[in-house]
């Protein structure tokens, strides 16, 4: 971001890295202070392209290239109208055509080509599909709500866990303190010699430790991995049986159109290897053995030897 300067006051961007660039609907950038200065009346003209703009239309730039910000804004507006989803179409081809049209519109508006024509097309579409647009909007909001609920639940879960671990730690600290205090008290009061008391204390401390370890290991599970919360009564009615054709493995059978080739392992026994040059030590080092070449030659000799039947 540092290599981009505000087109108006240029130096101010380098001097003040915390200054943000703002983009408007024409795709040109201005730094925050310049925006305040130029649009003190609320509206004015762009410095670079002289289009009439409003101060409220300035948004903080998210991308390095202001053209991208412009396109993102346009896309948001277009998708508010063209909000059909993939299951609204009967074939993949139609969906792709629809997407192609949307992209065309976004492209045109971003690059200022045929703006009037495109706007008219959008309006026509909006008029024709008013009810589908509404339906999809409703669907979208519902989905967003569900997502937000899930997020909220997750957050709450995290919070809870955090609090619990904090409480655990506190309890452990307290227990330690108590045992120390108890030791001191006993050293003061009891008649038992000090070494024995210390030994007892050590034992108790060790016991506490193991207790804490055990507690840590007891994972507080409230929910099974499948999502069913523990303690919930599960219905014992029989589940409907799904009958489907099981997959049966069929080994691959490749027709060689020739006589059967002996297996690689059998070649020695069958006497083929006597007629092949024996492998030298330097060949064997690489993993070669004479059976491989022999097998290859036999395969090639038999492949396609018989004419296809019929």
């Amino acid at each position: 971001m540092d290599d981009q300067g505000c087109p108006r006051c240029k130096t101010t961007k380098y001097r003040n890295p915390s200054l943000k660039l703002m983009v408007n609907v024409c795709g040109h950038t201005l730094c925050e202070s310049c925006v305040d200065m130029l649009f003190v009346r609320g509206s004015g003209n762009c410095v670079q392209c002289d289009t009439p703009l409003r101060k409220s239309n300035f948004r903080v730039q998210l991308f390095e290239d202001p053209a991208i910000d412009k396109e993102v804004e346009i896309r948001k507006k277009v998708l508010k109208i063209y909000n059909k989803r993939d299951f609204d179409f009967s074939s993949l081809r139609e969906y792709n055509d629809y997407l192609e049209r949307v992209e065309e519109i976004v492209y045109n508006l971003t690059n200022n080509l045929e703006v009037e024509g495109t706007k008219q097309i959008m309006e026509a579409y909006q008029r024709e599909n008013r009810d589908t647009i509404q339906k999809n909007k409703a669907k979208l909001t519902r989905e967003q709500e569900e997502l937000e609920e899930l997020l909220l639940l997750e957050q709450q879960g995290n919070e809870q866990r955090r609090l619990e671990t904090l409480q655990e730690e506190q309890r452990q600290l307290q227990a330690k303190r108590k045992s120390k205090q108890a030791l001191l008290d006993e050293l003061e009061r009891s008649h038992v010699p000090a070494t024995i008391l210390l030994a007892q204390h050590k034992d108790r401390a060790a016991q506490l430790e193991t207790q804490i370890e055990k507690q840590k290991q007891v994972v507080k599970t409230t929910i099974f991995s499948t999502g069913i919360p523990m303690g919930q009564t599960v219905s014992l009615l029989s589940v409907a049986r799904l009958e489907e054709d099981l997959y049966l493995y069929q080994p691959i059978h490749i027709h060689t159109y020739g006589p059967p080739v002996p297996e690689l392992e059998q070649l020695g026994r069958l006497g083929y290897l006597n007629h092949v040059r024996t492998a030298q030590p330097q060949d064997m080092a690489g993993g070669y053995n004479s059976g491989l070449a022999c097998h290859r030659a036999i395969q090639d000799a038999f492949s396609g030897l018989f004419p296809p039947l019929g």
């Binding site: 060689t256 690689l264 070669y288 070449a293 090639d300 000799a301 396609g304 018989f306 004419p307």
Partner: protein, 355 residues
């Protein structure tokens, strides 16, 4: 693909650089003929279909020339399909001689592959459009690459003894220009199964399972000879290489007066299967007749047609080294067409009248 050598060798004398890719044999499926592109796309049913393809290639070139509206185009200037055939055989023989004289010694499978490329190329293209002298060299060059017979490009053009050093460089440039065209016309099916390895395999099988034939090695020379002559015919485009190898062996055996009838019936288990046996005999007969039909082209015919060919290339050839310097963008066959059709698609689709 591993290269085959003499006597009982299956690999070449220096296993250092060729031994290791015998490991490919383990994965039997991918390299075998019965699932290869050669079987699927480059094996035809009969000689008539091949003749038809060549005739169509010739016609296509003629039509293209007539349609192009170039001055001086007339039927008499062009070669007929059978005349092209004579020249084809002449240049094919030249290719074979070139490969045989090649230094270092070119393995037989490389030679076989080169000739097969040459043959396949001119199945769908006319000699008038692409000069066989150029294509001949490229076939050899590509074949060396594909068959892993490593020859550097300078070493390759060093074998063009009739050219000067500058001529060799020009030849190399020409080769590199047309290489992609060749690959494209081969439909990118570059693996060719030649009959040499099947021959080795059959010899091994004979030695192992067929004691009736006393010394199969004695047949090797005449079998080799047969196979070389077979590459100069269309048999590679009509029959599987194993059948050609079998024909070669049976033919050599009968020439030497040795009987091998029971090999097919006993060892191959075809005693009961009369139908397959008949078909195989039929195929072998056809291969032999193809070989008999082959004759070296007559010199006077060759010269006459060569004159015509040179004339066509000089007048209508789009060939000129200077123009083709920076290669592929100018060549219609290489890059332009696919790109053009792509643009057409996008233009249609953006047609907003649909809305």
């Amino acid at each position: 693909m591993p290269v085959l050598g003499g006597a009982t060798d299956i690999t070449t004398a220096t296993p250092g650089h060729h031994g290791n890719h015998c490991i490919k044999a383990k994965s039997q499926s991918f390299t075998m003929f019965h699932i290869s592109s050669q079987k699927k796309f480059w094996t035809f049913d009969n000689e008539e279909s091949l003749e038809q393809l060549r005739y169509e290639a010739n016609q296509k070139y003629r039509n293209k020339m007539f349609a192009s509206g170039k001055p001086g185009v007339s039927d008499a200037l062009f070669l007929e399909a059978h005349e092209e055939n004579v020249l084809f055989r002449h240049y094919e023989k030249r290719l074979l001689d070139f490969c045989n004289a090649f230094k270092p010694v070119m393995p037989k499978s490389v030679v076989g592959t080169a000739i097969m490329y040459f043959r396949r190329f001119y199945l769908n293209n006319s000699l008038m459009e692409y000069h066989p002298r150029t294509i001949m060299r490229i076939c050899a060059y590509l074949s060396c690459k594909v068959d892993e017979f490593n020859v550097s490009s300078t070493q390759f053009v060093g074998n063009l003894v009739q050219e000067s050093a500058a001529g060799q460089e020009r030849a190399l440039e020409q080769i590199l220009e047309y290489e992609l065209l060749l690959i494209q016309q081969l439909n990118f099916h570059l693996v060719v199964h030649t009959p040499y390895r099947p021959m080795e395999g059959l010899l091994i099988d004979l030695k192992t399972r067929y004691p009736l034939l006393e010394n199969p090695e004695s047949l090797r020379k005449s079998v080799d000879d047969f196979l070389t002559r077979a590459t100069l015919t269309d048999s590679g485009l009509l029959f599987p290489p194993s059948q050609i190898a079998l024909t070669a062996i049976l033919n050599s055996a009968s020439r030497a007066g040795l009987s091998m009838e029971s090999y097919l019936t006993e060892c191959m288990g075809l005693k009961e299967d009369k139908e397959t046996l008949l078909k195989m005999y039929d195929a072998m007969r056809r291969i032999k007749s193809l070989m008999k039909k082959y004759e070296l082209p007559k010199p006077d015919e060759v010269n006459a047609y060569k004159v015509k060919l040179e004339r066509v290339h000089a007048d209508f050839g789009t060939n000129s080294n200077a123009k083709r310097k920076r290669g592929y963008e100018d060549d219609d066959h290489v890059a332009k067409e696919p790109r053009m059709t792509e643009e057409e698609w996008t233009d249609e689709d953006l047609d907003l009248d649909e809305l």
